[in-house]
């Protein structure tokens, strides 16, 4: 036992002679910083998101890192799915199912110059984004992928946060076709 004590004491003194306390803190800092950066690498997030998404983009379980504000809700990266994070206050037909994308109108429609605004949480990177819900106008209802979500939506007396209004209203041809969700920027905390 005394021999074991001597070996440990010898190793500790040797280590102390070769290294400083500052270098120890530096190594520890690198380890901690590295471990914090790993979850932010895009490959890691995407793989986890894909693993969480069910077959053909159906809602899946949310990645562990994405839990928080939207905990318990289905998670998907599928932009034709109503549960896609950017659609948190959309009301209408998803343009991504009508010949457009989640942020662009289908061919031959007219973009609406006025809009309502939402704040949606992206579980993929943990950020809140301000999005504008623009309507695509000038053709009759697309009818595909009906989606009505109302997170932080307010009644008509606050028009900028309301989705009960036809936001093609200011277009020369105000017929409503479908809706998109356009990222404007990261929401300030």
């Amino acid at each position: 036992m005394q021999r074991l004590d001597r070996i440990v004491e010898s190793s500790a003194r040797s280590l102390a002679q070769r290294t400083s306390r500052r270098s120890f803190i530096g190594v520890l800092g690198r380890i901690l910083t590295g471990s914090l950066l790993i979850p932010l690498l895009p490959i890691d997030r995407i793989q986890r998101a894909e693993a969480a998404t069910g077959p053909e983009g159906s809602p899946g379980k949310m990645p562990a890192a994405a839990k928080g504000k939207s905990a318990g809700k289905p998670y998907t990266e599928d932009q034709q799915n109503c549960e896609y994070w950017k659609y948190c206050a959309i009301d209408g037909f998803l343009c991504s199912c009508c010949g457009g994308t989640s942020s662009s109108c289908p061919p031959g429609t007219a973009t609406s110059p006025i809009t309502w605004i939402g704040t949606c949480h992206n579980p993929g990177d943990g950020r809140d984004y301000i999005v504008s819900y623009n309507d695509c106008c000038g053709k009759t209802s697309c009818g595909n992928c009906e989606c009505n979500r109302n997170e932080r939506e307010k009644p008509m007396y606050r028009p900028s946060r309301n989705n009960d209004l036809n936001w093609c209203m200011a277009n020369a041809d105000s017929n409503y076709h479908c809706s998109v969700s356009v990222i404007l920027g990261v929401a300030e905390k």
Binding site: T140, K154, M156, R158, A170, D173
Partner: protein, 382 residues
Amino acid sequence: MRSFQAWAALLAMMTSGWAAASEPLPPDQFGMEPLPARTPHWIYVVDSAFMNETDSRVRVYDADTHGHLGQIDAGFFPGVTLSPDRNTMAVGTTYFARGGHGERTDVVEFTDMTTLAIDGEIVLPAKRAQATPTYFNLGYSSDGRFLYAAYITPAASFGVLDPAARKVLGEIDTAGCVLVIPWGPDHVSSICDSGRLLTVTLDAHGNEASRALSDMFFDVETDPLFVQGIPTDQGYTFLSFLGQVHEVAFSGTEPVFRPPWSLLSAAEAGHWRPGGQQLGAIQRRLGRLYVTMHRGGEGSHKKGGTEIWVFDLSTHRRIARWPVAALKLGPVSALQVSQDEAPLLFLASDNPAAVATVDALTGQLRHTDTNLGQTPWQILNP
């Protein structure tokens, strides 16, 4: 075999003989069915036709006979209201010159509710609020002299119309407050983002005589008010997202707010919420409030009711909970109650698209009709 053929020949001779002996059907008289006299058990179902919104319509339905009596075309994002004598339906709507596209025409069309024929119109400036149906998109003054149309461009104002002369009288800016709540012969209130009501008083010509802003009676940040008011004897009752009941009297010189009360017990608060498109109705004779309720939270305020809760308005006590699943109906997005002595409750769901008729005293199902439109978001009494 020969015997079978003989019997078959005899049978054929007998049947052809009988056919020849009976009288032929008389020629049909092609014409149009008259509309029967309306009863308190009729309803007007506003189908917003969400899958093809340029084709909204109002269906006339008799809940006693389960009869589909007729239809009123309602165009695009209609606002629907009845004249004080209930003999005229005014539909504020939009049409496009080429069906789904083309030049926009905003118009109020008047339908004679004894014939269902359109008998006039007023063309509006292209400002009409194109919004989901409420009582306050379009409304008559209590004497029928004026008709008011809510405008949102998104700047908010309202048009003052003369329904008798079929013309627009003018437009009144509402400083960001929206919709038209007509009361008395000359008052119009609008709901403001500040949690107040703006009330404009008109002169005899439909011009603004004065305006007044009420005290704040709700907070849009903490507990917004649904804009779908429920008619009462004195005015309208409004529900909030979190289940507060705001009773507003519109019968004096200015709106009077009674102290709000809650639909929810302490244990239910935060778990149950009102929701839908037309989320409440009051049977005035019984003093009962019917509300579509669901389990929900932030953002669930447009979910239809999985239960109908019934309240006694004099005691604020809940007297019944009726689960919708027992009626084989989807979440209820709109409801209405008849005002007669044998009241019926009408419950509409989107999925499946159906309207159920229920005994308003017991909650017992009488009938379910699945042919009253794809998105029946508002039901009016005749």
